[in-house]
Subunit: 279 residues, 2 copies
């Protein structure tokens, strides 16, 4: 069952519709410093949150096909929408491990809630899939899940209005109904939302647990790599033959770079643009 | 030089990244009731406003290729971003007339201004192309053009917050600088913005001419069809062999349909979903 060292030293593939998944990549960098990453952001077709299952499955297949050309040992879908709509489909077609952000997020929310009332916010497609609700209720049918799609939060994050009265007003309006239900835990079900954490914290108050699936996903990736004997044995400070973190996008590499450099604990040197429709 | 009646009875192809171009289709329906329309909305890859020239040219070529399979006699790019970034490229490759929304909008703004100060609002990519500015200054170098990208206005329209305090605050913030420059004309340089016309009117006041390129484009299409002897000779109330208006999208046909039915003077019966990457 032991994997060879070539497998172990391969990168983890991470993908998202754009920059949001960098919040997941950031947690992997922090928590699994040995691991190399190949990141793909589908900036030519972003956002995914308003698109259909068929389309998201097709896009995810193309991206996974591209990541396989980069010789990855495991794949993380660092996008809630693609995790909700495409993970089950593409998992069946793969011979390497793949995980999304929804299952880890749902699991931790079940552990966190005390009053059995959990709120979930996400894109339209994530919320309409009811994936968080389904997984939580499967784990514990006594829990009630309240869901709310928040389509304007991503554009506000992309515009950089992270601590802005407009963003606060929009977030308040979206959260009001959920908070009125007496939830004690709130899943940040879109990879952009951790960037609004302090604003959401102010609106929600100190008593509510904010669940960040990005962090939980990095932890679950670590457990998975250990279980599969796929962890990279090299210490992160050993000499490397290649850049440990490589970035690919389908469009607008420069803009991606400035966003990435503002949120990663690491300066991106090169970002390659590829035509994802060719995969 | 006379065209045959088969050409004249062919449809006009109209395309946009999504629903925004319906404001242009609506003006064509109102002003050229004889004409049939084939509309394509690229809802699988919307929005275009944050994407690069290369990508928008590639998408536009695919869409034009699809529209040609529907036997169109002329094409209207009902999207400011694609008009700004792709029109010049694709025009060279075509043997039927094609027009965008930027040139008609720029021409009318030049006619409208009295104090020679024109404002333009649009998506990031439209504004960064400086296409309105270039065309206006070519027509009259004494005019000063002030430009402002408004990336949040499209998502707010798509969310349906057309008369909302949040949208008003966002629009005010975007327009403040332009209004401070003393502009007397403002180009609504994105096909979503006419849907915010009354809100923008309130912020801008009565003294500023709001230029809606959708209306000007429909007028220019009429002139072009007449000049090329391509106008449909059938009166709109004559019996037709096919639905006069046909709609195609790359994703989410249902959602497109409800949006379309809310803004068109006509009920859409069928919307076909196609895979645009195949063209």
């Amino acid at each position: 069952m032991g994997k060879n060292s070539r497998d172990q030293r391969a990168s983890v593939g991470v993908f998202d519709s754009g920059v949001g998944g960098l919040t997941v990549a950031r947690e992997i960098m922090r928590n699994l410093p040995n691991e190399h990453i190949v990141y793909f952001g589908d900036t030519a077709r972003v956002p995914y949150g308003s698109k259909s299952k068929d389309t998201i499955v097709r896009y995810s297949r193309q991206i996974i096909h591209f990541l396989r050309t980069q010789d990855v040992k495991a794949i993380v879908i660092a996008c809630n929408t693609a995790s909700a709509l495409a993970l089950d489909e593409v998992e069946r077609e793969l011979d390497i491990p793949i995980l999304g952000v929804i299952k880890p997020g749902a699991r931790v929310a079940v552990e966190a809630t005390r009053n059995h009332k959990i709120g979930v916010i996400g894109t339209e497609s994530t919320i309409n899939s009811h994936m968080y609700k389904r997984l939580i209720c499967e784990a514990d049918p006594s829990i009630t899940v309240y869901e709310k799609a928040c389509p304007l939060l991503c554009p506000l994050v992309e515009e950089g209005w992270l601590k802005d009265p407009v963003t606060e007003e929009v977030a308040k309006r979206y959260l009001d109904g959920l908070l009125g239900k007496g939830i004690d835990s709130l899943i940040l079900g879109c990879t952009h939302y951790p960037l609004l954490r302090s604003l959401i914290r102010e609106i929600a108050g100190d008593q509510i647990t904010l669940v960040n699936p990005a962090y939980e996903t990095a932890k679950e990736l670590g457990e998975l790599l250990e279980r599969e004997q796929l962890g990279n044995p090299d210490a992160p400070d050993e000499p490397r033959t290649a850049e440990p973190y490589r970035f690919f996008v389908s469009d607008m590499a420069d803009k991606f770079g400035s966003f990435a450099n503002s949120i990663l604990p690491y300066d991106i040197e090169t970002i390659q643009k590829i035509n994802i429709e060719d995969y």
